[in-house]
């Protein structure tokens, strides 16, 4: 387990060292959510209606944007090789990297979403559901994304191929996540949506690190 925490610490340290990186995923989220009112025009009713969808899509894209860097730097400079040769199980190190990715690219979005939701005129209970859904959904995005990042690792021009591979897999999270908020606004029960999200999260937490590790070993061959 030490190696796990060491990986998390290392990735956080690296991100801090680059300074800009910590805040910019958040800025991206903020800017994308603010682009839509600009592109669509300032009708409050319309905006309120599309708010959950936009916030979720923005969260999804913000996560996606950080994904190519998840393993690429370690691959190029040979650190990944060293990890694969380390006596600690690679799966553990990979899980650490995924956690660090979520802490850097997922958690800030969860914390920021209520504030941005306010701009779209969502009320307190809808904001609560939004935050809860993101709290369940963003780790799922990181987990699935890690598989894609590992699969496209050796591949040149992987950034966009990664999007192609990962976005289809993100769609269920998007549907249930945004659906929960919309159902709540429409006065329906949200338990079903949220428990489906939670179930997917548990499933991904078990299988994604494993699949990612397998993909990484292939990329290193």
């Amino acid at each position: 387990m030490n190696a796990f925490f060491a990986t998390v610490r290392r990735d956080l340290l690296l991100a801090m060292r680059r300074k800009s990186e910590v805040l910019t995923a958040v800025f991206f989220f903020v800017i994308v959510t603010s682009l839509f009112p600009l592109g669509i025009g300032p009708e409050p009713v319309l905006l309120k209606k599309i708010a959950p969808g936009i916030l979720w899509v923005a969260a999804l894209l913000a996560t996606l944007l950080g994904l190519p860097r998840l393993f690429a730097a370690d691959h190029v400079d040979g650190t990944l090789e060293q990890m694969a040769l380390s006596p600690s199980p690679l799966g553990l190190l990979v899980a650490g990297k995924i956690l660090a990715h979520w802490l850097l690219c997922g958690l800030p979005l969860v914390l920021l979403a209520p504030v941005l939701g306010l701009q779209f005129d969502l009320d307190a209970s809808a904001l609560g559901i939004l935050t809860l859904a993101l709290l369940l959904g963003t780790p799922l995005l990181s987990l699935i994304g890690a598989i894609g990042a590992a699969l496209t690792l050796g591949v040149r021009g992987g950034g966009v191929l990664l999007a192609l591979l990962v976005l289809p897999l993100y769609i269920p999270a998007l549907i249930f996540g945004a659906g929960a908020v919309e159902a709540h606004i429409a006065g329906l029960d949200v338990g079903g949506h949220l428990s489906l999200l939670a179930a997917m999260l548990v499933l991904a937490a078990f299988f994604a690190p494993w699949a990612t590790t397998a993909a990484l070993r292939i990329a290193l061959e």
Partner: protein, 199 residues
């Protein structure tokens, strides 16, 4: 303790080598020789388990490698720098140790860096270091993590005369303490003895 037999490797349609075998006992080292592109790097990557061999078997202390024990006893330094350019040499060294599950305090890390002639550069980001200094940061790992088998791919590249001598001494010490080493280099190596394997 290390027994390799029947190793074969092909890349694309090209057979790089077949039926490579050797064995190393404590205190012995192997010099892998060959022209550019003869397959030295490929052979070392097979050996440490980074890529699968077409055929052949590798035994480490009688057990089939790669295993966790093998990895614990192994240090492999390749062509790559494998250091994070944004971190300082000190941080690089300590984090690498943590990932390997080895305890390394600041004192130990500093001592290793100073031995490798990086005094005064401990706190600079690796990015600004010179080519030779980057290699030295990587080589410091040899001092901070105990391992019986050193697999070093062109470790003498980019090093100045003093550093070449230092690395030679380190390897000699390691061998004297019962370690083993597998080295490649296109230059004559400053380590006495050694088996040769020509690819």
């Amino acid at each position: 303790m290390l027994n390799v037999s029947g190793l074969a490797c092909s890349r694309g349609e090209r057979r790089l080598f077949v039926d490579v075998g050797f064995s190393l006992a404590a205190g012995e080292w192997l010099h892998v020789q060959g022209d550019n592109g003869s397959g030295k790097t490929s052979m070392m990557r097979l050996l440490v388990g980074l890529s699968p061999a077409d055929a052949g078997a590798i035994f480490w202390r009688g057990e089939r490698a790669p295993s966790v024990e093998f990895r614990r006893d192994l240090i492999y330094l390749g062509h790559h720098a494998a250091v994070k350019e944004d971190l300082t040499p000190l941080e690089n060294l300590r984090l690498a140790a943590a990932l390997d599950g080895v305890a390394l305090d600041e004192r130990g890390a500093l001592a290793a860096l100073i031995r490798l002639g990086l005094r005064g550069r401990e706190e600079l980001p690796v990015r600004v270091l010179s080519a030779g200094q980057k290699r030295r940061v990587l080589l410091a790992r040899l001092l901070t993590r105990p391992a019986d088998l050193w697999v070093l791919d062109e470790a003498f590249n980019a090093l100045d005369v003093a550093a070449v001598k230092l690395l030679g001494d380190l390897i000699a010490e390691h061998l004297a303490a019962g370690g083993m080493a597998i080295l490649t280099s296109h230059q004559p190596l400053p380590v006495p003895g050694g088996k040769a394997l020509v690819l």
